[in-house]
């Protein structure tokens, strides 16, 4: 244990290879405690892989992850109790009703039933899912599914929330509500890490940001530092490259 150094998540030298391809190739990250941290990068940059390794879902080939000073891969039980995870591209136990699923997640993290039931009730209310609590998750819309997954991530009152693409396919109203919830969670001393494609959102919401591309961190720091006077989107394009200039092929033009 390195003791709490004011960092919610401390990642050092993270590597992961799938076959011949390095998905994550030496990533260092410092997520300060109480920050709202954005992780941005193009498709296939290694965001999901990094977050999976940081939350104990994927074993790194090399590197270390500490959650509030606790080594995720040496003391997973202690570390995981402090983290709430919303993973991208994983299924839910969707034959349960929304209410059952959140309660299940609560009981799995070891709380007693009355607490689990109380928190489930609160979370469903918070996320506007009360009326859908009795519907099977398999019959939910994409946005509702995202929200119920968020509820399972928050039910054990983690100190750190790690959310992979939390706003994908969520309607604008729900997205704004989720943003408020996350904001107040950060105000209450929690730490939130989100990955996203939407620069605008990250710029407005987060106070820290890291740009990842091809399995490496290109730049990290406070949002103001990273965007350096420009907008985050322009800065991102400048860093990552790949922007093409031109009007597209002749046959696509109609005027």
């Amino acid at each position: 244990m390195t003791g709490d150094d004011g960092l919610a998540i401390r990642v050092r030298g993270l590597h992961k290879r799938f076959g011949e391809k390095y998905a994550v190739n030496g990533i260092d990250l410092d997520v300060p405690s109480g920050s709202f941290y954005g992780l941005v990068g193009p498709n296939g940059a290694g965001k999901t892989t990094t977050l999976s390794m940081a939350t104990g879902l994927l074993r790194p080939d090399a590197g270390e992850v500490h959650i509030h000073g606790v080594d995720m891969w040496r003391q997973p039980l202690v570390a995981k109790a402090m983290v709430g995870v919303l993973s991208e591209g994983v299924r839910l136990f969707d034959r349960l009703t929304g209410q059952q699923l959140v309660e299940y997640a609560g009981l799995l993290s070891g709380m007693d039933r009355p607490t689990a039931q109380q928190r489930t009730h609160d979370l469903l209310q918070l996320l506007d899912l009360e009326s859908a609590g009795g519907t099977l998750v398999v019959d939910y819309s994409a946005g509702m599914t995202k929200k119920i997954a968020l509820a399972t991530a928050m039910v054990h009152a983690p100190r750190v929330l790690v959310l992979d693409e939390p706003f994908e396919s969520v309607d604008p109203v729900s997205a704004a509500n989720i943003r408020d919830i996350l904001r107040s969670y950060v105000d209450g001393g929690g730490t939130v890490v989100v990955s996203s494609h939407v620069m605008d959102l990250v710029e407005r919401m987060c106070d820290h940001v890291a740009v990842i591309s091809a399995g490496r961190v290109l730049v990290a720091g406070s949002v103001d530092e990273v965007r350096a006077g420009s907008t985050l989107e322009d800065r991102f394009v400048e860093l990552v490259g790949g922007r093409r200039v031109g009007e597209g092929p002749e046959w696509l033009r109609h005027s």
Binding site: L92, E103, G134, T135, V138
Partner: protein, 523 residues
């Protein structure tokens, strides 16, 4: 456009081979079985050329009608068999209806079942080899018959697609098909008995079918062969009209499904109910047991395994009454115990990536194992007891009952024990959540074989004491051995269960992320 669609179908087929060698092996073995079956059919047709014209006609018409009927019924039950050229997938492209339908028709003929039907259809020329003119006609009508098969399946699916898009319908139909399959033995026996007693009626049935939409196409060559030209022409007319009608129905259904995409139906449960979560202990293991138990009765993939419990004793009872000896009935208990115990072998695989929740909440491996095991045992133990006692009561012979019950418990408990270890270590390719439970992924059955057989062997080994005691009690006809067997079954089974759960829990604790990665790759 038609060529593009057929090419797409072939491309998907080829790419599915590339994904893994085990799939390729499975497809090759499947193709081998298919070709052997086809060869048998073709050989039979060739042999018919030596028989009288009427016999050949009867056989071809009956077989052909059965094929058309099968193609009409199976797609309904096996939804999601051929989704490559699913109308819903193609709805976004501006493909005119006619080439789309032609493409779907032809691509149906290049699938395994479609190709077999087409070849067999052309093979109906073989009985008429001695009169080449008739054989030539049979080639044409055979193709027409095969095309009717494919069109009828397409028509049925497209009309039913509105209905079939509901999750509940899909799941229910996937389960319904299992009932005739499990009862296949009794059904086949019943039919063969019926046929044997009514063999003389078959030519009459075939003659009738020959005038019906099902068999008209297949009956044309036979009519020509006996010189009934008018009859042949009329039957051909019926066959063509059938094809045209089905084509129109398909066209209507397809046009409708292209503009009305599948919608999901849902039923709202009253909020505020936790179901089983409020009943079982509020611990991680208790919650997992509640979740698994909910799944056993709500997920068709689990329900499929559950169907064995009532159906198997029914089958045993049928065979018993057939042989006027109730010996079979006693096997029901151990066999159901085995089916239920081994049923957990792919438990984590059924979770698919939803298992990530267990990993992220750091659920202790042992709690995971206990939860899953107790969910099964909660209903499996009463079921096994009920069947064992019921069988003894029906037979009115209580002497073997304790020994059999001991063996059943032994098999059940050590089966669960073995599966607690294997499901922590291996990921099996299983139907994904929401898929038709009957839809085996290509290669799934083959790659399951090794570990499954190994598990069977271990279970047999672990149950050896119970087996020996049962045999002794049956030979000596002394009740004490049976009771001893019961005691041994319960105690030894429980010991194995504890060991299996601990070992499986330790494996899971060490390898949960790797297991999840494997599930992700597979999912």
């Amino acid at each position: 456009m038609v060529a593009t669609l057929v090419k797409l179908r072939l491309l998907v087929l080829r790419n599915s081979f590339r994904r893994s060698t085990s799939q390729l092996v499975a497809v090759i073995i499947g193709a081998l079985y298919g070709s052997i079956g086809l060869l048998v059919v073709l050989g039979g047709l060739l042999a018919l050329s030596l028989a009288a014209a009427q016999v050949a006609t009867t056989v071809v018409v009956l077989g052909g009608s059965a094929a058309v009927l099968g193609w009409a019924v199976f797609p309904l039950l096996l939804s999601g068999v051929e989704q490559t050229l699913d109308a819903a997938h193609l709805a976004v492209y501006p493909i005119p209806l006619r080439p789309l339908m032609l493409g779907m028709l032809l691509s149906g003929a290049v699938g395994v079942a479609g190709a077999a039907t087409t070849i067999a259809g052309i093979g109906t020329a073989l009985p008429w080899l001695r009169s080449p003119g008739v054989a030539l006609i049979a080639v044409v009508t055979g193709v027409l018959g095969a095309a009717t098969c494919i069109v009828v399946s397409r028509a049925v699916t497209s009309v039913a697609s509105g209905l079939a898009s509901g999750r509940r319908f899909r799941e229910a139909s996937g389960l319904l098909i299992l009932i005739p399959l499990i009862l296949a033995g009794p059904i086949v026996i019943g039919i063969t008995r019926g046929l044997r007693s009514s063999a003389d009626a078959l030519p009459g049935v075939a003659a009738g079918l020959g005038w019906s939409p099902l068999g008209a196409a297949w009956a044309v060559p036979g009519a020509v062969a006996v010189g009934d030209v008018t009859g042949a022409a009329l039957r051909l007319l019926i066959a063509l009209a059938t094809f045209a009608l089905l084509w129109m129905v398909w066209r209507w259904g397809l046009a409708r499904s292209l503009v009305t995409p599948a919608r999901a139906s849902s039923r709202v449960r009253a909020p505020g109910k936790s179901g089983l979560f409020g009943v079982l202990p509020g611990t991680p293991a208790g919650a997992i047991a509640a979740r698994c138990l909910t799944y056993w009765f709500r997920d068709p993939r689990y329900l499929r395994q559950l169907l064995v419990v009532p159906l198997l004793p029914a089958v045993m009872w049928f065979y018993s009454s057939l042989n006027h000896s109730t010996g079979y009935l006693f096997a029901a208990g151990p066999v159901v115990a085995f089916a239920l115990g081994i049923g957990m072998i792919a438990d984590v695989s059924f979770d698919s990536t939803a298992f990530a929740l267990h990993v992220s909440k750091a659920v202790p491996g042992r709690a995971d194992r206990w939860g899953r095991a107790s969910a099964l045992l909660i209903f499996a133990v009463p079921a096994v007891v009920l069947i064992g006692v019921g069988a003894a009561a029906v037979r009115d012979d209580w002497l073997p009952a304790p020994g059999l019950l001991g063996l059943s418990f032994g098999i059940l408990l050590s089966g669960v024990a073995v599966c607690s270890v294997t499901s922590a270590r291996f990921v099996f390719p299983v139907p994904e959540p929401g898929d038709n439970p009957f839809r085996s992924r290509p290669g799934a059955n083959i790659s399951l074989l090794g570990p499954t057989f190994a598990a069977w062997g271990v279970i047999a080994l672990l149950c050896l004491p119970e087996i020996v005691l049962l045999v002794v009690s049956l030979v000596t006809r002394e009740a004490v051995w049976g009771w001893l067997g019961l005691a041994v079954g319960v105690v030894l089974g429980a010991v194995f269960l504890v060991l299996g759960v601990r070992l499986g829990g330790r494996v899971l604790d060490g390898r949960a992320p790797e297991l999840l990665l494997q599930l992700r790759k597979d999912g």
